[in-house]
């Protein structure tokens, strides 16, 4: 007589609640891992266009970095915007206002996700820039401000 079951209810609020739990757990690893890589393994001095674009351009690990960034931005935007929706629902009781708030929130989220995903998925690394940058900084240690390659200067209008 241990198991007594009813039909799971499902529903909008239920799935968002479940999403918040799963995405929160994943973001602990994704976001903390991101912070660890960018601020402890590396530092702000070395993080620049070259750092990000060469990571994404890497033929072996590029897909993993892009997948990481894509998952992180999508989960973070959805988690954050749904959190704001939940907080606003506490102060906005009328259904009409709630629909309005949800519309604003979800269209902003979709907009941000579209821009972020577009950048991550369709980004083409400038191979010439990466090569010039590496030539200009050859032999230097990582922990100092990198020298920008001459092409950067040449491209300035």
């Amino acid at each position: 007589m241990a198991s007594r079951r009813v039909k799971p209810t499902g529903g909008y609020e239920l799935w968002w609640w479940y999403f918040m739990r799963v995405s929160g757990l994943l973001l602990v690893f994704l976001a903390l891992g991101h912070l660890f890589i960018t601020h402890i393994l590396n530092n702000v001095e070395v993080i620049n266009y070259h750092f990000v674009s060469s990571r994404w351009a890497n033929p072996q690990t590029g897909v993993i970095w892009r997948l990481w960034d894509l998952t992180m931005i999508n989960l973070a935007v959805l988690h954050g915007f749904n959190g704001v929706r939940e907080v606003l629902y506490e102060y906005i009781a009328s259904n009409r206002a709630r629909i309005m708030v949800s519309t604003i929130i979800w269209s902003s989220a979709v907009g941000l996700i579209a821009i972020g995903s577009y950048a991550i998925l369709l980004f083409h690394s400038d191979k010439d820039y990466i090569r010039d940058f590496e030539d200009a900084n050859r032999g230097g240690t990582a922990i100092h401000a990198p020298v920008l390659p001459p092409t950067t200067i040449a491209r300035q209008p």
Binding site: M1, A2, S3, R4, R5, V6, K7, P8, T9, G11, E13, L14, W17, Y18, E86, Y89, E90, Y91, A93, R98
Partner: protein, 254 residues
Amino acid sequence: MAATDTQKRKLTVKVHRYDPERDQAPHWETYQVEAEGHDRVLDVIQNIKWYQDESLTLRRSCAHGVCGSDAMRINGVNALACKILIKNLRSDTLTVEPILGLPVIKDLVVDMKPFFDHYKSVMPYLVNDEPAPTTERLQSPEERARFDDTTKCILCACCTTSCPPFWGDRKYVGPAAIVNAHRFIFDSRDRAAAERLEILNDAEGVWRCRTVFNCTNACPRDIPVTQAIQEVKRAMLTGDVGVEEEEGAVALTA
């Protein structure tokens, strides 16, 4: 800083007063009361009413923590006035307010109707249309234990009126109603669990719960309210309203 039962303490009691026939707005009034360590906050308030200001209005019935009439906000925390001993107060200043989130009728008396409307909305009664057996509807000790905590509710409203989401949104069904739904959802004799889950699966149902835990702290019956709410959420996800399989648990019935 009295800690013994008979030591007298001179208390400064600040009471939140409001008489709609006389006052423009609620205000604080201060009284001096001498009380012993084994007196309760209720004794102090009754002392004011009987010897200083008979217009002070409050609800109380059994005065022994069973009826749940004298829920109020004592030093900022919801409690039954009849269950708080003076010797356990940290300071000699005592503030007493009506519970928050419900309309004040007079002084410490609030209108409980919205609270009971939420309570009624979750079908807080046994539903079973199957033909009654010749003997009793048999229930194992484990099945009874599954919802034992939530049978203890006395509907004092300490939990619901300590809940910040309820303060912000009075349409939220509130912890007390969910506790009483839990009491029947997990009852093996009941047949309306699915209906109750459907009722609570609403933006104004369990999903307004932010796990603030004020309800759990406020409950004078020590019901783990937040846990009960989370169990209802989980039942919505899994559909499992049976007895949790505990490791090493031994079935007492064949």
